[in-house]
């Protein structure tokens, strides 16, 4: 009789039973929680293992899978500067099972994170050029990492514009940093759908900000040497991108970050597929040319 030895065991002997699912999984501690609005909180998270923390290299626009044991796992964009390595910041809106539970956690709690996953905003390739960043609502969250990255290397870039629209002033995120961004010579414009007492800024759609910027007679500065990064709800993409194209930006230089349901982040669960494209592997950041070639993408 032939008792087969278990070839599976030898093939994957490096990861025997009782170990983490894969090398991408790290235990991390929530070191601080700051409420930002009624529904969003900023979480500072530190990977426990020092070596893993130092080795946590990511690019702006990438995301992690965050797992709260027994509660859930979901993708979140890393919102901190890549130079901070495994001391990351996440800004999370409480919308569902996991995120509402997270909003009740305090500092000191251990969670699991895997990653980094996905594509990034190619800020390296934008060196020497202008960048215009357009964020709607929670879209400012994945945008913060490229903003921080641009700030840290401010001198290497041309003109930087940030246009940010929120539903109302009380829903604006990272307000405490806006002044600092401006100090770094970033043209930050903020607009809200609906005003609230105390609000002195403009009211309207983010497209209005862009239209105004385009109308300032600075059209000449737009063109092949301008990059755009667009993040926000799906309804926002098309009008904005159309305006940008109209203004002469090339499709390959407009980058959007798409959102899909993800259960693995590793190209295995199919949840985020758009056709054969995995939002988690081939995205979440796509250039606009690719997006137009994806059915049902936006």
């Amino acid at each position: 009789m032939v008792e087969l030895i278990n070839p599976g065991m030898s093939l994957f002997a490096k990861k025997p039973r009782g170990r983490e699912e894969d090398d991408l999984f790290h235990k991390a501690e929530i070191t601080n929680v700051y409420p930002m609005t009624a529904t969003e909180k900023l979480y500072q998270i530190q990977i426990i293992d020092p070596a893993a923390r130092r080795g946590f290299l990511f690019k702006p626009g990438q995301f992690i899978m965050l797992e709260a044991p027994g509660i859930g796992e979901a993708p979140f964009s890393i919102s901190s500067a890549p130079s901070r390595l495994g001391n990351i910041e996440l800004c999370i809106r409480a919308v569902g099972v996991l995120t509402r539970f997270l909003s009740r956690l305090e500092r000191g709690v251990m969670i699991g994170i895997s990653g980094p996953f996905g594509t990034c905003f190619p800020v390296e390739e934008m060196v020497g050029e202008d960048v215009i960043l357009l964020a709607g609502g929670l879209g400012i969250v994945p945008m913060r990492s490229p903003i921080m990255s641009l700030l840290e290397n401010r001198s290497r870039y041309g003109r930087i514009d940030v246009m940010y629209g929120a539903r109302r002033p009380s829903e604006l995120l990272f307000g405490y940093q806006h002044a600092m961004w401006r100090q770094f010579d970033i043209g930050l414009k903020v607009i809200v759908d609906r005003s609230e007492p105390g609000w002195t800024g403009p009211v309207g759609m983010i497209t209005a900000l862009l239209a105004k910027r385009l109308a300032q007679g600075e059209r000449s500065r737009f063109g092949n040497a301008t990059n755009a990064i667009v993040c926000g709800p799906p309804v926002m993409f098309k009008p904005i991108c159309d305006m940008l194209l109209e203004a002469g930006l090339s499709m390959e230089k407009i980058f959007v970050s798409l959102e899909r349901r993800m259960h693995c982040g590793r190209g295995k669960c199919c949840r985020c597929n758009i056709g054969s494209t995995y939002t988690c592997l081939d995205g979440p950041v796509f250039d606009y040319w690719s997006v137009l070639n994806l059915k049902e993408a936006i």
């Binding site: 796992e73 590793r266 056709g275 054969s276």
Partner: protein, 349 residues
């Protein structure tokens, strides 16, 4: 590949050699009302239970790699901290005895995506590596269109492949493991007559493959027909029940759920095989659904299999086993759906 012939009585000996391991094979589940015999894969202890003359199992063998429900992690809680335990579930080698060509090809397709770098699925990988697979030539059903999908024969993905030649078996040995195990059996070199019989047998089988899918330029056609109205009719019929994906040997989509034990001392992460036909498959936070209508979900299943996968791996994510159509209560079959897209209309059914 080495060709041999196994003498009639030797199959039982071969079975006995292997049955000390956990052995899976086709077994009969009983007749359906229309007289069709129903088969499925199950653990087998005696050769008499093994129905190598089976037509096709209702469910595929993928469950041994991708269980319908799988615990992919257990958390033992300690205050704010916890310990995570992971078990890939490959505790013992598994012998799969009697897989048809389509099902072996299905595993090969799954390998392409699930073992792909940069993030191979270790749960799948560990179980896949712990398998010993014995293929067996099939008895095609009227629903089989494997030839159209290029999945009617096997070149790799199993350890050996058996084709009955009268009482003897023509054996294609594809792994050294298989070669060593078979050493103790009465194997002989095939004669020219054996080769001829083998070819005749293959031809006979080929003649039985009647269903067809015209896959010429299919990716392009699907691209052009993205807005085709045929999907409305298929969508109207579809029950969004997920049966097609559950029985399909190549569907691998899954969902995750985390649960906490009643005593709050443990948590677990559970993976459930899912289906892109299910209502909430493409729902994202906030309730927005990228594919809220059954027609868009059904269409997505076809686009993933016959367009997207082809783009990525140069072959469709379908082996033409016909299971999805046979088991779909609404009678939605791949040949009909694809023909309708080509034609631009749905025939009444």
């Amino acid at each position: 590949m080495i060709f041999k012939v196994l003498a009639a009585g030797e199959l039982e000996k071969f079975f006995e050699l292997l049955v000390v391991n956990k052995l899976i094979g086709p077994v009969e589940r009983g007749p359906a009302v229309d007289g069709r015999l129903l088969f499925d894969f199950a653990e087998v202890a005696e050769i008499a239970e093994l129905r190598l003359d089976f037509t096709q199992t209702v469910h595929s063998a993928k469950k041994y790699l991708l269980p319908y429900l799988e615990e992919t992690g257990v958390f033992v809680m300690e205050g704010s901290d916890w310990e995570k335990r992971v078990d890939y579930g490959a505790h013992q080698p598994l012998v799969l005895f009697g897989l048809h060509a389509c099902d072996i090809n299905a595993l090969n397709k799954l390998d392409k995506v699930l073992l792909a770098e940069p993030y191979p699925n270790r749960f799948y990988g560990a179980k896949r590596a712990a398998m010993f697979i014995i293929g067996h030539s099939c008895r095609p059903t009227p629903a089989c269109f494997c030839r159209s999908m290029g999945a009617d024969s096997v070149r790799h993905g199993c350890d050996l492949f058996l084709t009955p030649l009268g009482d003897d078996y023509f054996v294609e040995i594809m792994s050294s493991r298989a070669f060593h195990i078979m050493e103790s059996l009465d194997l002989r070199e095939p004669t020219r007559r054996d080769h001829k019989r083998f070819q005749e047998q293959a031809k006979h089988r080929g003649n039985l493959l009647t269903a067809e899918v015209d896959a010429t330029d299919l990716t392009k056609i699907l691209d052009m027909e993205f807005d085709s109205t045929v999907w409305n009719e298929w969508g109207r019929r579809c029950l969004s029940c997920g049966t097609c994906a559950q029985v399909c040997p190549t569907c691998y989509c899954y969902g995750l759920e985390e649960v906490v034990a009643l005593d709050l001392a443990k948590g677990a992460k559970i993976r459930q095989l899912y289906s892109c036909n299910l209502l909430d498959f493409a729902e994202v936070a906030g309730g927005y659904n990228f594919r809220p209508e059954s027609r868009t979900r059904l269409k997505y299943r076809y686009y993933h299999k016959h367009r997207g996968f082809v783009e990525a791996f140069e072959e469709p994510l379908c082996v033409g086993c016909g299971r999805c159509g046979t088991n779909c209560l609404a009678g939605i079959t791949v040949p009909e759906v694809i023909a309708s897209v080509r034609r631009g209309e749905v025939e009444n059914g």
